[in-house]
Structure formats: C-alpha cells, structure tokens
Subunit: 380 residues, 2 copies
DNA sequence: CTGAGCGCCTAAAACGTTTTAACGACACGA
DNA sequence: TCGTGTCGTTAAAACGTTTTAGGCGCTCAG
C-alpha cells in the first residue's frame, strides 16, 4: 500500500507533469491579471508566472547575478518592468533564511539615556541606515546576566554582529563585535575609546592654569565600563602636572536605573563631598550628567559656580552648553564614535577580517562658564 | 530521457527509501555523538536524529502543541532533555517564515533626541522586551518622504506593526499602528495623546496666579506633530482664564537636524522675542528643550529668571530639574505613554481588534524655580 | 551527419521551521 | 473476521527566496 501510494504520488509522466504545471501557471496568471490589487502579496513566483518565466530567472535578473549575463537585454527589461508594475517586494525573511545574511546588528546599551548613549546611537544609526542595515536595540541596565541574555536572544534573532556601548562584557561574544568605551581589551573585540590620558591632561591642565590645587573627582561608577581607565588616567596624569588627587576628594558615585541616571549620583556625591569637610576648589566629574547633578548640589548649598567651585564635565552632551553657567567639559566626539563603531563592525562583517584591536579618538576641551580662577577653598 | 530521470529520481520503492533514510539517520547520529561541539549549529533535525524521532514530533513537543497531547510523558521528557543537552535554539528566521509572525515592531522617531523621544522609548522598550518583542528603530528627521520610506522598508523587514512618535503621518499605514502625540486622528491608528486643554490650563493658570498678563508662547514647529493641538489649546484656554495671547508674542520656532535640536530654536526664538520690543513677563515654551534654549538667551541678555521673566516648559525631561534655576514645566508621563503605546499595539496584534481611537493621559504641573511673580515687563 | 559549443532558461535543492493529514499497530466490540 | 477507534508518530507540504547543475534547441565546424 505505502509502496503504491508513494509511487502514485511521485511517478507522474513528464508530459502530465508539464501539463499540470502549465495549467497552474495559466490559472494563477489569470488571477493576477484579473485582480492585481486583491492578491495578498506579490511573490517572486507571481512575477515569474506573469512573465511565463521561472522564479529562478526572475531572481537572477533582479539580483543582477553574473549568471544573468547570458539573459538577453529584452528579457531583463521585461522582468524589471513586471517587478515594478506588480510592485514586487522580496520577502526578506525568506531571503535571509536562504542567504544566511540578515543585514541587521544588535546594539546593547546600559540605558536609553539622555546623554552619552543618545549621542553614540545617533552616529550608529546614521551609518547603519546608510548602509542598508537595521539594528535591534536592547538596554541591559548594567546587569551582567541581562547583558548575557540579550546577547543570546539577539543572536537567536540572527543579528550579524554586536555594538556594545559602555557595557561590561566578560567574554568574547560568539559574533563579531565592536565595543565603545569598553573597560578592557577582549580577544577579537574592537574597542573604540577616547584617549583618556589626553582627556585627563586637558582637564587637569586647565584647572591647574586657573590655580586649582585641591581638585575633587568622581572616579565613576563601578558598573560603568569606562570608569577604570578614566580614573587611572587621572591618577597618573595629576602628578606629572604637579597636582595631587587626595583620596578624601575622590568620591565614588553610582548611576541609578530609571529616572535620575547619574544626575542623582552627582547630586549626592557632591553633598557627601561637602559634608566631608575636606577643602576643594574644583570638581572633575565623571561625566556631564554627574557634573550637572553636582552643580545643583553646590548651588543648593549656596556655593557659587565658578567663584566658589569650578566644575568640569565629560562628554559634552547637547544640553551642556545650555546649563547656567555653561558647562566646561571634555568633549567626546560621540556621534563620530558611533559612526566609527558601526563602520568598523560592517567592515569586519564584509571582510571577515578581525579588525583592529582598538580605535582611539581624541577628546577636546570645551571651556564654558563653570570654570574660573581658584578662590578660597570651599567645603573647608 | 527526462521522463526516465524524473522517474529514477522519485520512484524508489518504499523499502529502499526507508533503508536510505535509516542509514542517513545513523550517520548523522554518529556524527553528532562523536563531536557534539564541532557541529556548526544544532537544528531541529539534529535533535530529531539524535532521538531517532522525526522533526515533526520534536517540534510538536517543544512547542507544547495540543497535538502533542497524545505523545507519552516519557517521550516528551526525552525530547526536552535532548534539546537542553544539545543546546538547541530554534532558528527564528525559519520559524517566522513559516508562521508569518516575527514578534518585532517598527518604531519611528523624528530624532534620537535627549529629551522627549528618549523618555517615550524607555517605556516602549520596557514593555516590548517584557513581552518578548523587539523593535527596529529608525529616525526620519521629520522628512515626510523618509518617513514613508522607512514605513515601507520596515514592512519589508516583516515588522508586525508600528509605533510612531511625534511623526506627521499622512495616511494609515498598511500595518497596525499606534501613534504617540500625533497631530490628527487617522482611521485605524490609535493615538496616545496628552490632554492639551488641561496642560494649557495648568500652565496658564499658574502664570496668571503669579500675576502674569503678557505671556509669550512658542506655538511649536510646523514639522512637529504635536504642535497644532497644543497651540489650539492655548488659544482657546487663555480667554477662558481672562488672558490674552497677543499675536506679536507668539513666536514660531523650528527644531533643527543634528546637534542643537530645539535648543537653538528656543535660543533664537527668545532673541527674536526680545528684539521685537513687545513687552512680556513670561514665556510658555513649546517644550523643555526650547525653554532651556530660551533661558540661555534671556540670561545672555542680562535678564534674570524668574525676576525679569518666568519660563514654563513642557515634557519634564530628566534634566529639567537640574537646570539653574530648576525648570517649571508641564510634565508629560513620557515613560507611561511609551508603555501605553506598546501595550495598545500588542493588544491590537493579538486581538486583531482595531483598538481605541485615542488614549488620553493627564499632564501635571511641576513648579520649580523658573516661575515667579510678574515684575516689570521685560523687553518693552 | 555528428558533436561541440553557445544562448537562454529552468528544475530542484536548500535554508529550518510548523502543521495537517494520515499511517501502522494494536485493542476492543460485534 | 471485520470494522472502529485510539495511540504514537511521521511524511510531506508549506513559507519565499537563492543558486547550482544542467537541459533544450540551435548553429557551425569537421
């Protein structure tokens, strides 16, 4: 029985087979012609039937495959015309399944923040969209397990690679990855970083020139991937400039989930600084957001900026220039860094080359109103 | 010939067919067992071969299909165990292709901004990720043709629906869509909006209580989807409160691409306002960003806030509280609006129901330091 | 008259799932 | 002995592409 049914199913003579096919072709053709708009969605096969060609031919032509070179100009034009007329749009899921390419990458950020992440993402988005890529975005709120999970889920979703912003990643992902402001070098992961030594020099030299000696710092939050290196650079640079970073003036702060972000961290950090009683005339904050939070605390405490205390930020986020006074800060070229990260990743994807270990960009000091000559030491 | 080859190809007797199959099964089984880690990527078929079951069975069990009810517990356990042991992860492209579901939506924003969009997106992301959805993000920079193009491209990428933030959309998209702060009602598009009349009343009443009569406004940028309604509400509400919005105090501003955003628009708007010579004691800005830009202009011109001029913003973005003085503003519950938008869209997707035409949320007045009793009219 | 080569096109497999219809085996009642 | 039914399982089609290997019908040289 099973033998029979199997045979019956498959062993059709060629002529019958062809006839059946022709009929099917004519029918579906008629359908398309009768109601070109009702038809749910035009597939490659619909275009092929409409032209009395095979899907293979149409695909070859539309994709400008070298194999299609031998197909006469006339036919090619017919194909293009039909595709246009029927408004054929290839099903990208099917294509991706077959070609094993999705033209999408995963972007992981600690949080969709107002400052840093938004700046980088603008660059990433710009470059990716220009190259026909899309990205899936996920925020892991600096939780290592959430980060790991998103890496896996995004891989399941067939992204071709990752861009990791300020994320503490522990091991090389299973897909090509580019990190921005990562805390350490990982085998095979290109890292786009700011030149922290230059950044520290710019900020500290500026403060020294204004006569500051007692400089407080926010070394940064432990869950922020950039913190360690930035803090190391400050510690190493200060003595070279004849400055001393006193332990009692280094205040740990944290960025919090949801709402405040680093604003609150900066605010309470500044309060603790003032409460400590240690004298200081300037603060080099971890980033603009924490600098702005700290400013609020100084002002609330009756201190004047920059008369009583100077503040230097880091990043130069959009709003930095619009605070009162305008925030003096070390600018990171965020948008460019985003573009750089995207570009590096896409090159890795097409070359297959591992790419550079590290790409360094230069910071720039933007002097605005929050820094002035050192006065009497505040807080003492 | 073709007849023959076709037959030769298909007309294998059942027994041979089975034998071949068995052999293949044993081989691939052996392969898996010999080197379970070398094998590129575990497919459903690999799990099936490992268990000497068919892919169908494994799929049925893993997906807890009702059809699998008749499969004995013992087998089901074996299937789950094998899937776990081999670390099987289904190929979502293939699944999506077959099921015609992708569990992803498209999110369109004018720009990845520091304020409004970031706030909403936080909500959107929160809800979507909780429900196992992902989103593709695109920014159209308020260009209608770019918006249209992204709608098409995202549809090509098989998103199941759209969330549109503050976007001027002209016609109902071909997929279920939810708009946030859209300018007008579109057939079949749920609109999540703030109660603009209440918002206007809160702000204007507050200013009136402080004795302000000459109140300047930024009616908003023509390319911002929210502007019209907000402006209408102000025009209608003012007379009810016994206030007059003088035409010469209504200043058109624009949000610009890249960099500045509305900061610059607010800054130059305030400059034009002052230059016009028309007296005013307060400004109700279009949003926080433009309010902050305007503040900068007032301060640069030597005006004091709020002594000379009071400023009210709109949105309550994160940084609003940290400006100096703190910005008095009409809060939109941005995160909640994002969650609401996502939730509404997902319900539409699962119900198939068209969903409500409009979902209204309530604003709240947050009084901080930029508003005070009206003094002498500035600018006059 | 044959065989090679070319021009044009296509069959069929492949990508990795889901799902429907049905199959074999066995039990049970008539 | 013959349905009838249930149980456990599966073949095969389907989703919509891309791509390889090759087919068919010519022409033209030998």
């Amino acid at each position: 029985m099973s033998n029979d049914s199997l045979s019956r199913h498959f062993c059709i003579t060629n002529s019958i087979y062809s006839t059946l096919k022709r009929r099917a072709k004519r029918e579906s053709l008629a359908f398309v012609k009768r109601s070109p708009d009702v038809s749910k969605k035009i597939r490659l096969k619909d275009v092929a039937d409409y032209l009395d060609l095979s899907p293979a031919t149409v695909s070859l032509v539309l994709n400008r495959s070298p194999v299609a070179d031998s197909i006469p100009k006339r036919t090619q034009e017919r194909v293009f015309a039909a595709a246009k007329k029927l408004d054929y749009r290839p099903n990208l899921l099917a294509r991706s399944l077959r070609k094993q390419r999705t033209f999408s990458v995963g972007v992981l950020v600690p949080e969709i923040s107002e400052g840093y992440a938004a700046g980088i993402m603008r660059g990433v988005e710009h470059h990716l969209s220009q190259k026909g890529y899309f990205y899936l975005l996920a925020s892991h709120r600096s939780k290592p397990d959430l980060l790991e999970e998103y890496l896996a889920v995004l891989k399941d979703r067939s992204v071709e690679g990752f861009i990791l912003l300020a994320s503490r990643i522990e091991s090389t992902p299973e897909l090509p990855a580019v990190a921005v402001s990562s805390h350490r070098q990982l085998e095979g992961v290109t890292n786009v970083v700011i030149d922290h030594d230059l950044a520290a020099r710019l900020a500290l030299q500026h403060l020294k020139d204004l006569g500051h000696e007692r400089i407080a710092v926010f070394p940064g939050a432990p869950d922020n991937a950039d913190a360690e290196d930035r803090w190391r650079a400050i510690r190493e640079t200060a003595p070279r400039l004849g400055l001393e970073i006193r332990p009692e003036l280094a205040i740990e702060i944290t960025g919090e989930d949801y709402g405040g972000g680093f604003y609150k961290g900066g605010y309470t950090g500044a309060q603790r600084l003032m409460a400590s009683g240690a004298p200081f005339t300037a603060l080099f904050a971890f980033n603009d957001i924490s600098a702005i939070g700290a400013m609020r605390a100084f002002l609330d405490a009756g201190s004047k900026i920059p008369e009583d205390v100077s503040v230097v930020g880091f990043d130069d986020i959009q709003s930095a220039a619009f605070h009162n006074p305008g925030l003096t800060t070390v600018r990171q070229p965020l948008r460019e860094m985003g573009i750089l990260a995207a570009k590096t990743l896409l090159e890795r994807l097409s070359n297959g080359s591992p790419g550079p270990d590290v790409v360094t960009v230069k910071p720039e000091l933007i002097v605005r109103g929050t820094t002035g000559t050192a006065g009497r030491a505040a807080g003492g």
